[in-house]
């Protein structure tokens, strides 16, 4: 039975903390190992797992995630494989959303993808290059299959724009902390706080902050004003740097524990 992101946010709220959202590309470094890594992240405190759908032209991603998706694609991670990975991690107890650039979803078929994700037990989709203006077909398909549409707001978004975006968003709002691509940064931009406040003014949906977060301290800082903390490149980095598959599992578990402690501070 599909568990939705709303459940994770409700649990976090009841515990007076922020939810921890962790990203890993499906199929990285290969399909089998990616399932083990994700299961380890969930077991170590990740509340919502963002399963990346590897794409050949990830123009919102920095070098770390680019390298990971290249490996995933080379390992044969097609959209079918991604949906299968979602099913495996959901069966193991995860709440999962898919992070995908728009073209692979459109190519798969908007309706077919929504249906396939529902069948796999997925809860939502984050499509970083899908704007509200282009989301018409997706709104119909995602509503029909109870898939949350998670759109992004950015520091450069006007208030009117934020209102339009949250109008078509469900599940939670993804607030990009900074103007830039994915990748760990030593400080989280102060613009994130203001963006969350501006978004909060026009929606009651949970708001999660991502881009550049990599440490427990940063997670704690964001948890003080946001409902969720999103960490991606830092998990990928741990896997890239690990000497073996076992070491990679241990490394992502350690990071998940550090971040989970951060959102509870």
């Amino acid at each position: 039975m599909t568990r939705h992101v709303s459940e994770a946010f409700a649990t976090a709220k009841a515990e007076n903390r922020a939810a921890l959202i962790g990203y890993l590309p499906a199929g990285f470094p290969n399909p089998e190992q990616s399932v083990k890594l994700i299961n380890a992240m969930v077991a170590s405190g990740v509340d919502i797992i963002e399963v990346g759908l590897p794409y050949s032209d990830p123009l919102m991603d920095g070098p770390v995630i680019q390298q990971a998706v290249d490996q995933a694609l080379a390992a044969g991670t097609t959209t079918d494989v991604v949906l299968n990975i979602v099913k495996q991690v959901v069966d193991a107890g995860a709440i999962a959303v898919v992070m995908s650039y728009w073209n692979p979803i459109e190519r798969f078929g908007v309706e077919e993808f929504a249906a396939g994700l529902e069948a796999a037990g997925g809860s939502g989709v984050i499509a970083p290059d899908l704007t509200p203006e282009e989301a018409g077909d997706w709104s119909v398909a995602s509503d029909a299959h109870a898939i949350d549409r998670i759109l992004m707001v950015a520091p450069s978004s006007t208030d009117a724009r934020i209102t339009a975006i949250v109008g078509v968003t469900s599940g939670f709002v993804y607030a990009a902390s900074t103007m830039g691509v994915t990748g760990a940064r030593t400080t989280v931009s102060s613009g994130a706080h203001e963006l969350v406040a501006r978004t909060r003014a026009v929606t009651s949906l949970p708001i999660a902050v991502g881009l550049g977060v990599s440490t427990g301290d940063q997670a704690a800082e964001i948890a003080a004003y946001a409902d969720g903390v999103i960490v991606g490149s830092a998990f990928v980095r741990r896997v890239l740097d690990a000497a073996s598959d076992e070491a990679a599992i241990e490394a992502v578990s350690d990071l998940a524990k550090e971040l989970a402690a951060g959102v509870r501070r």
Binding site: D57, N103, R107, D129, L130, T131, M152, A154
Partner: protein
């Protein structure tokens, strides 16, 4: 066109962080178009800097290879910097100034757009960074040197296929992070709105001039206007002048590489399907999962898996048609033009010339064809020498291959 769409094509598929910049650009473009001061400044630059209007040259001896059709060359190769790309860049550089930005970035394949952007940056005193696939920096080394001499920073892109598509990814990544002070000078009629419409607008001077010129010499409209289609900007500039003249055939020639049947090509209309790439819906070379497929062409400026969304719509509506031209056909046309007219074309443009040879034979001896000679071939001399087996160390004429000697 409504709201940046051409039928189902075009639109904006970009990270939200870029929306504000695209809105700002859209507003600046629309205001500038209506502002006589802007138009005067642009026209003066075109005249005094680019050297417009450029001629429409009747290619008498080349026409003999085109079924006897009278073929005219629109001489974008004579523009300052050597191609049509400068038309768009000067317009966008003026907009950069108007938006109060101090840095321009660009992607480049053949290097012509990068050179044009570096040139405009020098002229306007702006900073300039150009992203270029590592593979392209090798095959267009001359243009890399030109950009550096003009004061631009050239960043070789080592990701992916190391060609134009990857250079665009990298330029977009730069732009997301630097958008407050930086304008992204996209080099063709692709990308998110308003780029396709705006780049077409700045190139429309090609079609406006060509239409006047052909009426002056022939006293009638041409039967066909043809151009090579990489992203599609030189073609859209020429086509736009004849769009409403529905009796005029509009035909674009894409890179057929080793032949569409080999899979090694950049023929989006013959070998691609509708999809989303680099911010717009259009025809894309992709696999069944929506992963971008590798493209191939002897010509760096044609080696791109997407195409301008307006071309996609012109294709579907039938107003324009598109055919592939192989590397070998393009190089044959390259040699023929060089030998018959004393004009060495860019290899991109040679695809259009091969098209003129093909359509001339279709239309017959009394027909009139305009082909856009989008750029000159200096940058391609090393590639062409390799193709024709010319030893760059030797200069004697008997080193030329038989094809080159006979102009085949």
């Amino acid at each position: 066109m409504t709201n940046g769409h051409y039928g189902p094509y075009g639109g904006r598929f970009v990270p939200e962080a870029l929306t504000a910049a695209l809105d700002e650009l859209d507003a600046a473009f629309r205001a500038a178009k209506e502002d006589p001061a802007f138009i005067n400044e642009l026209r003066a630059l075109e005249r005094d800097y680019t050297g417009r209007p450029n001629p429409l040259t009747y290619a008498k001896r080349f026409s003999e290879h085109c079924g006897g059709a009278r073929v005219y060359l629109k001489r974008e190769d004579l523009n300052h910097t050597g191609s049509h790309k400068i038309n768009n860049v000067l317009g966008q550089a003026l907009l950069t100034q108007r938006m109060g930005k101090k840095r321009m970035i660009a992607e480049t394949g053949a290097g012509q757009h990068g050179v044009a952007t570096a040139t405009a940056a020098a002229l306007f005193g702006l900073e300039c960074t150009v992203y270029m696939g590592l593979e392209d920096t090798r095959r267009q080394a001359l243009n890399v040197a030109r950009m550096k001499l003009l004061g631009a920073e050239v960043i070789p892109v080592t990701a992916g296929s190391q060609t134009l598509k990857d250079a665009i990814n990298e330029a977009m990544r730069d732009w997301v992070a630097s958008v407050d002070e930086t304008h992204y000078v996209l080099g063709t009629v692709t990308g998110p709105a308003p780029f396709p419409e705006m780049v077409r607008y700045f190139h429309s001077v090609i079609g406006i001039e060509a239409r006047e010129q052909i009426l002056a010499v022939e006293g009638r409209l041409p039967d066909a206007v043809v151009a090579c289609v990489g992203g599609g900007s030189n073609a859209m500039g020429l086509f736009s002048g004849f769009m409403e003249d529905t009796q005029v055939i509009l035909r674009g020639y894409e890179a057929g590489g080793d032949g569409v049947e080999t899979g090694r090509h950049s023929a989006r209309f013959s070998g691609g399907t509708p999809g989303v790439l680099h911010g717009a819906r259009t025809y894309v070379m992709q696999d069944q999962w929506g992963q971008t497929a590798p493209s191939h062409s002897i010509s760096a400026g044609m080696d791109y898996p997407g195409v301008g969304p307006e071309h996609a719509w012109l294709h579907d509506t039938g107003r324009a048609s598109y055919e592939p031209v192989t590397d070998a056909e393009a190089m044959e046309a390259f040699a023929i033009l060089s030998k018959t007219e004393g004009i060495i074309p860019a290899i991109e443009s040679a695809h259009g010339l091969a098209g003129a040879m093909r359509i001339g034979k279709e239309l017959g001896p009394d027909s009139v064809v305009i082909v856009n000679l989008s750029g000159r071939g200096d940058k391609d001399v090393a590639t062409a020498a390799r193709w024709f087996g010319i030893d760059l160390g030797a200069t004697v004429s008997n080193e030329l291959s038989p094809e080159m000697r006979e102009g085949r």
